[in-house]
């Protein structure tokens, strides 16, 4: 980013000339729209902005943004983005991918970029399925899922992307869903503003291979009862009349209660900035899938040194220590003799 005044932009400025190639009705459209509409608010230059993705339906995203972009290979986007971010700390880098791309083949790069805290805004479109390869189960699919590759049902315990990220030292972790544009935009904006790696899990409907996977919690009619909004500094409450809440026991257990049943002051106040990740983790365990009340919002947002900036500091430090680049001096730096 730069100090100079950045010209104002509109959604159209951020929209490329390529027509999206997603199935009609795919949740990816609403995420794209939300992001394209939000981009002007960030006050960025398009030419300073890069979208990097792997492979999958979600990973087609960069083509639709009028920015720089790489549609790379399956699972490797966090690694490629890490190199770019280190080389060019001046850029605004978004990383986009599906649950297969980021958590199956790319799981290792994801967790390593999170722990390193490279300045990347990572959006994980979780549709609990492999879309592009036509409907195999993914690492976030529920146990027992019947797909082409699991005709008798899948056996694997799914990952909870928020828990995975917290276990991997992520400094920023949020969750949102494709049915709520304003919430998506808020999460994306906050994720972008975070200095370091930020992960936003976006529940995304794949209406062709896993239709309605999140309907039980994201459908308008269900949201009050099924989404637990996390708001900084506020009590964690939900329900049409905020009648439910989350409390913590001395035994270290977080539970959902009816506010009426407890002393209201016991209701947990959310603190995304708590250094200790255990609270965020406990919140991530409140729900074991999109069929129970599930927290959305920012689980964790703490300051930690950003990787690329630190790396640049080492370059400056090295120059201080060893002086500026002097190739001749380098070649003569070992013992030499003259003939």
């Amino acid at each position: 980013m730069t100090d100079i005044v950045v010209p104002e932009t509109t959604k159209a400025d951020w929209t490329s000339d390529q027509e999206p190639r997603w199935c009609p009705g795919c949740g990816d459209y609403s995420i794209l729209t939300a992001l394209q509409m939000m981009m002007p608010d960030l006050g960025l230059r398009r030419e300073d902005t890069v979208f990097i993705s792997g492979i999958g339906c979600a990973a087609r995203f960069p083509y639709y943004m009028n920015t720089y972009g790489i549609h790379s290979i399956h699972g490797r986007s966090p690694a490629i983005a890490t190199g770019l971010a280190m080389a060019r700390p001046d850029l605004n880098i978004f990383v986009i991918g599906g649950d297969g791309d980021m958590l199956s083949i790319g799981g290792n790069h994801l967790i390593h970029s999170l722990r390193r805290n490279v300045n990347l805004t990572i959006l994980l479109f979780n549709n609990q399925i492999y879309g592009l390869t036509k409907g195999q189960y993914s690492p976030t699919s529920e146990i027992g899922k019947i797909t082409k590759s699991t005709p008798i049902g899948s056996l694997d315990e799914p990952f909870n992307p928020v828990s995975v990220a917290l276990g991997a030292e992520a400094s920023f972790v949020a969750r949102t869903h494709d049915m709520d544009r304003a919430h998506m935009q808020e999460m994306m904006r906050r994720a972008f503003e975070h200095q370091g790696s930020s992960l936003v899990e976006v529940f995304q409907n794949c209406n062709v291979f896993n239709d309605g996977a999140f309907a039980a919690i994201t459908k308008k009619a269900n949201r009050d009862e099924m989404l637990i909004p996390l708001r900084q500094g506020e009590q964690i409450r939900f329900g049409a009349d905020n009648e439910h809440g989350v409390v913590f026991g001395a035994d270290g257990r977080a539970t959902v209660v009816d506010v009426a049943d407890v002393d209201e002051s016991q209701i947990l106040v959310h603190d995304e900035s708590r250094r200790d990740a255990s609270l965020a983790f406990a919140l991530s365990r409140l729900s074991s899938g999109p069929y129970e009340p599930t927290p959305v919002g920012i689980f964790r947002a703490v300051d930690r040194p950003e990787y690329a900036a630190e790396a640049s500091k080492q370059l400056a430090f090295a120059q201080e220590q060893s002086g500026p680049a002097d190739l001749r001096a380098l070649l003569h730096s070992h013992q030499t003799w003259e003939v």
């Binding site: 009028n66 720089y68 549609h71 790379s72 690694a79 490629i80 190199g83 070649l331 013992q335 030499t336």
Partner: protein, 624 residues
Amino acid sequence: MADTAAVPEVRQLDSIIVRFAGDSGDGMQLTGDRFTNASAVFGNDLSTLPEFPAEIRAPQGTLAGVSAFQVQVSDHDITTPGDAPNVLIAMNPAALKKELHRLEPGGTIIVNEDAFEDRNLAKAGYDETPLEDGSLDAYTMFKVPMTSLTKEVCKDIGVKPRDAERSKNFFALGLVSWLYTRPVEPTLDWIKAKFGRQELVAAANTAAFNAGHAFGETAEYFDVTYEVRPAKLQPGVYTNINGNTALSWGLIAAGQLAKLPIFLGSYPITPASDILHELSKHKNFGVRTLQAEDEIAAVGSALGAAYGGHLGITATSGPGIALKGETIGLAVSLELPLIVIDIQRGGPSTGLPTKTEASDLLMAMYGRHGESPIPIVAAYTASQCFHAAIEAARIALKYRTPVMLLSDGYLANGTEPWRLPDVESLDEIDVQFATATNAVDAEGNAVFHPYVRDPETLARPWAIPGTPELMHRIGGIEKEDGTGNISYDPENHQRMTDLRAAKIAGIANDIPPTMMAGDVDDADLLVLGWGSTWGSITSGMKRARAEGNKVAHAHLTHINPFPADLGDVLARYPRVIVPEMNMGQLSKLVRAEFLVDATAVTKVKGQPFTAAEIHEAILENIDD
């Protein structure tokens, strides 16, 4: 065994080959290194071959734990660490047992007598001590109680016997330095510089070194010492360098010459790790290094940095290249500059991690799916790794392509004196980022098309993020010629495949002709080499020619594409042999390309060819 009392005669030799061998813990690499350095400073030409086990510290005293260092020191131009050593310094029975077979017939053995006690003998698999059973009568042997003598001198300066024992390699070094009349100052200076802060260690090493030297002088044990005069090398400033350091410096130089910052993404692996280590030291040159989580992330990060306008580099060895194939393929498709370095080692699989081999050539050519040609540059001596790195960068940057740079364990760790180039003499690498639109769309707007090519090089523009108006998206799916938009069109795919191939093939016109030596105009046999066999071939050929054989030597520094004249070169000679540290990989490429009956001369023993082996191969093939 010599046991006279006269002042030793000084015998002039034109070259000597010394091999230090001991337990991994005995510091043989350091000893060899110091001996080499003293000789270098003295003005000799030289060439070294370190050899060590894959374990950090294999069981003490065992054959598996033996670490060795061979150096040839010469008064003339040499190209190999020599075949059979003239002298073997064996610090324990295992070293003697394992290394003896290399010694020249009647050669000299210097043993640390103290180490030949029962436990060590048993560990090495000796039933009785070979020092006494007459089995070594064919050699000249000197038995020196190095451990006890070292402890002795160290006692005086207050070093505990346990610690003192660790200095015994300096005793050996002192003794051998005396024997070969090497200057002592470089070593003493070095000890001071290196161990200055650990005073006792410095004192112990100095004492041991001096004691070893004095032992030679006073023990009246040796009846002859040797001298190797300085070599008549080209005038200049020299430094002793190994391939990995030269290669790292070459990368740094390339960054300077191209005025680009450097990004290295790497994952540690023997024998490539030292490139990561070396580059990490020079961040003041605008070098960024990332120790990635694995080799795939390493190459991925380098590619990401390349997209951002850095000289992106990744360095590894065979197993790492096997992992990077998919990402290199992406780089082929994205047409971005990238340097992929393979310091080859013994394979397949984990293979022989610390031993040399050159068996990754065909993987470098073909280790990716689909048609994904990339240029291959191969270094051929330790110091030349510097220039090979610059050349790889030049090609990568000019043609916007990943380039495979091949070296191997022998070049990586072996050293030779290097006449330092004049920095001003190095050619700049002209890199132009795209700054303006280059096409017009249907509506007549100026637009940027990322796959519009330079008509001469066929390179596409390198438009880096941050450049206004040139926003574009690229990916691994086939792209429409010009616009770079996704295209599944059959004709377009053929065209793009042809273009990618033509771009790489065209580099043939931009590289030097085949490097030739020997009886170029009139030979009965051509020895075609690539990579680190250069030294062995040069030495072996010298012998064959000295006997009157007419032999030419062609050496490839570029393997894909081949130099434009290679077909003509091969056609000029009635026979072609191709010595390779593999099972015949270059010979396959040459045969396929030129239909020349090139005979592979192969060796996969974890060691470079000896000059004798090359000599023999020449004789065998020139006759029939």
